[in-house]
């Protein structure tokens, strides 16, 4: 670990200013991902700007009937928030399906968005890795890739985004609010994370020094039917093999609107607009859900060890949509 300066930001403006003072400044919030990375030399900041004390913890209703979640609200605070539990149960459940209570108590919303992949090759500098060291190669492609992507991957990286919360946020059409020295801007969730392409070192479209200040959820009338289904190697405390965030708006027997996003399949939370479009106006039957699942997985490119994910994702979609059509609940 090389020495670095540690400063506490006094305000949002201060944080953004501080980030411009050196080449390699990084924000730290809960530290649950960044500290682990520092310990294995994945990140070598020369300045850590502690934003955890900033006044960005509020969770409040918006005029539009949605909710605005401060970037420093803890994962626990968000999951336990009464309005979120009532209006966006899938967000609450997605968060609660991740990590452990202790980690969620420390982890923040902003940090969750920016947690990096859990690809084991990435985390161990004994391996080459294009994400860690651009151009060095991707050993996961000819190696062990059971946990890796089946959608949207490239020849340079097949990593998946590990967040559960972000899968729910993708389904809910969240907007990320960002502040920089140039001012404040909003990024639609789908444009926030990137596919690896030939620049897997970039997970998101943020620019250096961008501070996430909030995540804003628009009102989604049928989000109450939303469910989050996470399939993994043990019952708790492990990352998803496949996860599904789904919600269905029924009008009688037919589907008025739907949301569908997948985790564990791609370099970003994978919203399937095609499947959603297909679902609209169709009868809420198992056959419809099956077809939606096929559409969502069209173009899937399984690797040596993750072929099962295609089938698992389809079945999980079918299951999630079925439960949502019955009014939601725990999957």
């Amino acid at each position: 670990m090389k020495n670095f300066a540690y400063v506490r930001a006094t305000s949002t403006e201060d944080a953004v200013q501080q980030s411009q003072t050196t080449q390699n400044a990084q924000f730290i919030a809960g530290g649950t991902n960044l500290v682990d990375r520092l310990k294995v030399f994945l990140d070598r900041p020369d300045r850590l700007i502690d934003v955890s004390r900033l006044d960005l913890k509020q969770i409040e209703a918006t005029k539009e009937g949605g909710i605005r979640i401060g970037a420093l609200a803890t994962n626990t605070a968000v999951a336990d928030h009464p309005q979120i539990r009532r209006d966006y149960p899938l967000l609450s459940r997605a968060i609660l399906s991740g990590a452990s209570q202790q980690i969620r108590n420390m982890a923040t919303v902003g940090g969750n968005l920016l947690q990096r992949t859990r690809c084991p090759y990435y985390y161990d500098p004994v391996f080459a890795c294009n994400k860690r060291q651009p151009g060095s190669g991707c050993p996961a492609i000819p190696g062990i890739n059971r946990m890796h992507a089946i959608l949207g991957a490239s020849d340079s990286c097949i990593a998946v985004h590990p967040s559960d919360m972000c899968v729910a946020l993708a389904a809910l059409d969240a907007v990320v609010e960002v502040e920089s020295t140039k001012g404040r801007r909003q990024i639609p969730f789908n444009d926030f994370h990137r596919l690896p392409g030939d620049a897997p070192e970039r997970d998101t479209n943020l620019e250096p020094g961008d501070l996430i200040t909030a995540v804003i959820l628009p009102p989604v009338s049928f989000a109450k039917t939303g469910i989050y289904l996470k399939l993994r190697d043990r019952a708790s405390y492990s990352f998803a093999l496949i996860s599904v965030a789904a919600a269905i708006d029924l009008s009688g027997e037919s589907i008025r609107d739907a949301r569908l996003a997948l985790g564990g399949v791609a370099h970003k939370p994978w919203r399937s607009i095609e499947a959603e479009t297909f679902l609209k106006g169709k009868p809420a039957t198992v056959e419809t859900f099956q077809q939606a699942a096929e559409i969502a997985l069209q173009g899937a490119k399984p690797l040596d060890h993750n072929g099962f994910k295609v089938n698992m994702a389809k079945r999980a979609i079918k299951r999630a949509l079925t439960i949502s059509a019955q009014g939601g609940g725990v999957a």
Binding site: M1, K2, V40, F41, R118, P120, Y121, Y123, D124, V126, F127, P139, P142, G143, I144, R146, L229, L231, R232, D233, R234, A235, S236, Y237, S238, F239, L241, F308, K309, N311, M312, R315, A316, K318, R319
Partner: protein, 705 residues
């Protein structure tokens, strides 16, 4: 005084542990302590062409940079299991060869841990890389001898078809297990402190007296010059008996730099450097009569070892123990891969062995349309078929019957895929458990003080299994004092040799020694009871009465075989479509002789069951096929059960003392709990789904395939 033995006594070291007062190796404060960081190999096979240490040497706080070029010499120990074993026969940094990924290739010492770690990144290593072999399917196997050098192959009977079996039923199948890691909560750590020619080692060790001899040999000094201190061990499971390469290196470098030196092995480094259980592949062939009498058992087992030591996983130990058959054949082979050295891991041999055998027995029961409990009862053996000795005490049938009763086994439908609940398939499975009963030499010292407190001292140790509490119970029982009057000091070679905590023998070795010491104490002053002794102390003004007591096995092993027995029954619930499995119910009944502490014993069985569920469903260390480095190497990638994976585990004991074995009739309970667990789960999965899983772990992807 009420009987203390067999009651449920909470661990006496519990408060110290939960309040942080229990000092583990890494927490020992030694003035002048410096810190070593291990440098490990980035390749899995080849040689170090060059290693440049200049930058590291110049880094702030750096005291020494050690590589194979300047490694301090130590003597090669005789490396015998009984006297002075080291886990890995190749001494650390002995040459430029690299045999497995993550092998130790250097040590950087600095005044702080962070500086040592930082400087370790500055080493520049160039390698001549060879293609490593980590795929056992491509390996060459050869006949294996046991870790004690004995032949493992064994054959009895004629295998002639004329044994009177008409219409024999045969099953033959191959079962595999994955590479498993011990992952004790406390990572491996050591502090070596030389004062002139005397060495003090702080290190979690399952065998204080054993490693005292090993370190003495390594450095060519008398045992009396070596002190081992290991008051607390945060789990070991077989991985903390002998010195590993990092231990030897730490002690050698500490001598060279004349400073107390600490080395902590990181979780990642532990994957290569502190042992694991080898993957295994076993084929079991069972032939039986129509009504389920076994005629022949053929059991072959393969495991892998490292290029630098030989450790075959002794899967076939269980074959001549479990079931009677006139014809029996076992074979074991081993191959060398470029992986770290495997070692004992909780019930070495028995765990994979019982996975295969108990799965095969289940398959046979289905084939014969027999109840699997009945099939086992039918084939019970009263003798050890290799040793040709009768078992001293065997209540296996009671375990099966009691377990079946507690579980409600009689209601089990005889068809797979018939039980359902909440839209999920339900399956019931059972399997037997077994583990040999071992016993070694042990000595303890007991001191009675005038205020009625009793102090017990021995070098025995507690890996979390409950030795502190056991000693307190045994002392309280024998002297008629309450448990809270007994203070126990263990894990220090200055105390009398309390023996080895391995092979489930700590309790069996130690309890009779404590009893003996207490009896000797009373005898020494001709006291009829402790009260009288205290009175005498108070009136005479003496500080203490003390006595030592020893215990050791005698000739009984010539006439008897000693073995523990058990049965597991479990229920699984399977959401087949999405590959989600939960173990929902568990019943274990164990025959481990006299139970000394009902609470600790049940906890040991539960711990074993949990570890077995991990083996069955999720534990798997995987190596990158191209570089040979593990891609499963920490607590995020190596899954073992979380609380949510574990149901209530109902544990009962038969409780009949085995007095042929030792004076208390107590056999050990540390390992038997894990044996048979994976088979019980897989057997339940078969009952639920009609699908036979023969390759562990039964992960979600396999389950829904």
């Amino acid at each position: 005084m009420n009987k203390v033995i067999g009651t449920a006594v909470s661990r006496t070291d519990g408060l110290a542990k939960v309040t942080g007062k229990a000092t583990y190796t890494g927490e020992q404060q030694i003035p002048g302590l410096v810190y070593g960081y291990l440098v490990t190999s980035a390749i899995a096979k080849g040689r170090i062409r060059s290693i440049s240490t200049e930058a590291a040497q110049k880094a702030p706080g750096v005291i020494a940079v050690i590589t194979h070029k300047n490694a301090p010499k130590v003597f090669k120990p005789t490396n015998n299991f009984i006297t002075s074993k080291i886990y890995e026969a190749r001494l650390p940094l002995s040459d430029e060869q690299v045999h497995y990924g993550g092998q130790i290739i250097g040590l950087v010492v600095a005044d702080t841990f962070e500086r040592a770690r930082d400087a370790a990144q500055l080493l520049q290593v160039e390698y001549d890389i060879e293609t490593p072999l980590v795929n056992s399917a491509k390996a060459t196997y050869k006949a294996a001898n046991s870790m004690f050098g004995e032949e493992m192959a064994f054959r009895k009977g004629e295998f002639s078809s004329g044994t009177g079996v008409t219409e024999p039923a045969t099953i033959e199948a191959t079962y595999t297990t994955s590479t498993e890691l011990h992952v004790p909560m406390e990572p491996h750590a050591i502090i070596a402190h030389w004062q002139e020619d005397a060495l003090t080692i702080y290190e979690p060790s399952q065998w204080v007296a054993g490693i005292q001899r090993t370190y003495a040999e390594l450095f060519g000094i008398p045992s009396e010059k070596v002190r081992i201190v290991t008051p607390y061990i945060g789990g070991a499971f077989g991985s903390k008996v002998y010195p590993w390469p990092h231990s030897i290196l730490c002690a050698a470098v500490a001598r060279q730099i004349q400073r107390p030196l600490k080395v902590v092995v990181s979780r990642r480094q532990m994957t290569a450097n502190t042992g694991h259980r080898s993957e295994t592949e076993q084929t079991v062939k069972l032939t039986a009569t129509k009504d389920g009498k076994l005629d022949a058992i053929v059991h072959t087992a393969k495991s892998v070892t490292s290029p630098v030591d030989m450790f075959p996983e002794p899967c076939t130990n269980i074959t001549p123990v479990m079931y009677a058959a006139p014809n029996m054949q076992v074979n074991q082979t081993v191959a060398t891969l470029n992986v770290g050295t495997p070692t004992f891991m909780r019930a070495p041999g028995e765990t994979p062995g019982m996975w295969a055998m108990e799965s095969a027995m289940d398959e046979l029961a289905w084939k014969l349309n027999l109840d699997p409990v009945e099939l086992r009862l039918k084939n019970e053996t009263t003798t050890h078929l290799r040793k040709n000795l009768p078992f001293s005490s065997k209540h296996f049938a009671d375990c099966l019957k009691e377990g079946a009763k507690r579980f409600g086994w009689q209601n089990r439908p005889r068809q797979p895929r018939t039980l359902t609940r909440d839209g999920k398939l339900i399956g019931w499975g059972m399997a037997a458990a077994t583990y040999p009963a071992l016993r070694g030499n042990a000595t303890v010292k007991v001191r009675l003080l005038p205020d009625g407190r009793v102090n017990v001292l021995t070098s025995a140790n507690d890996m979390g299994t409950g030795t502190y509490t056991l000693i307190a119970i045994m002392t309280a029982e024998t002297l008629g004092v309450s448990v809270d009057k007994v203070s126990v000091e263990i894990g220090d070679s200055l105390f009398p040799d309390g023996g080895l905590a391995g092979g489930s023998q700590m309790t069996a070795s130690l309890a009779p020694a404590v009893q003996q010491a207490c009896q000797n104490l009373l005898k020494s002053g001709k006291f009829t009871n402790t009260k009288e002794a205290i009175k005498e102390l108070q009136s005479s003004g003496r500080a203490a009465v003390e006595a030592t007591g020893s215990s050791a096995p005698s000739e009984e092993g010539k006439n008897w075989a000693f073995q523990s027995w058990g049965a597991h029954f479990c229920e699984v619930s399977i959401d087949e479509e999405i590959g989600r499995l939960r173990v929902t119910r568990w019943v274990s009944v164990m025959d481990i002789g006299q139970v000394m502490n009902a609470k600790a014993a049940a906890s040991q069985i539960r711990g074993g069951v949990i570890m077995g569920i991990g083996e069955a469903l999720m534990e798997e260390c995987v190596f990158d096929p191209n570089t040979g480095q593990p891609v499963v190497y920490d607590l995020a990638t190596y899954h073992y059960p979380s609380h949510a994976d574990i149901p209530r585990i109902d544990v009962t004991f038969v409780g009949k003392p085995d007095l042929t074995f030792n004076p208390l009739g107590a056999r050990g309970g540390g390992e038997i709990g894990i044996t048979g667990v994976a088979a019980a789960v897989a057997n339940a999965v078969y009952h639920a789904t009609g699908k036979r899983f023969r390759n562990l772990p039964i992960a979600p992807d396999k389950l829904m395939a």
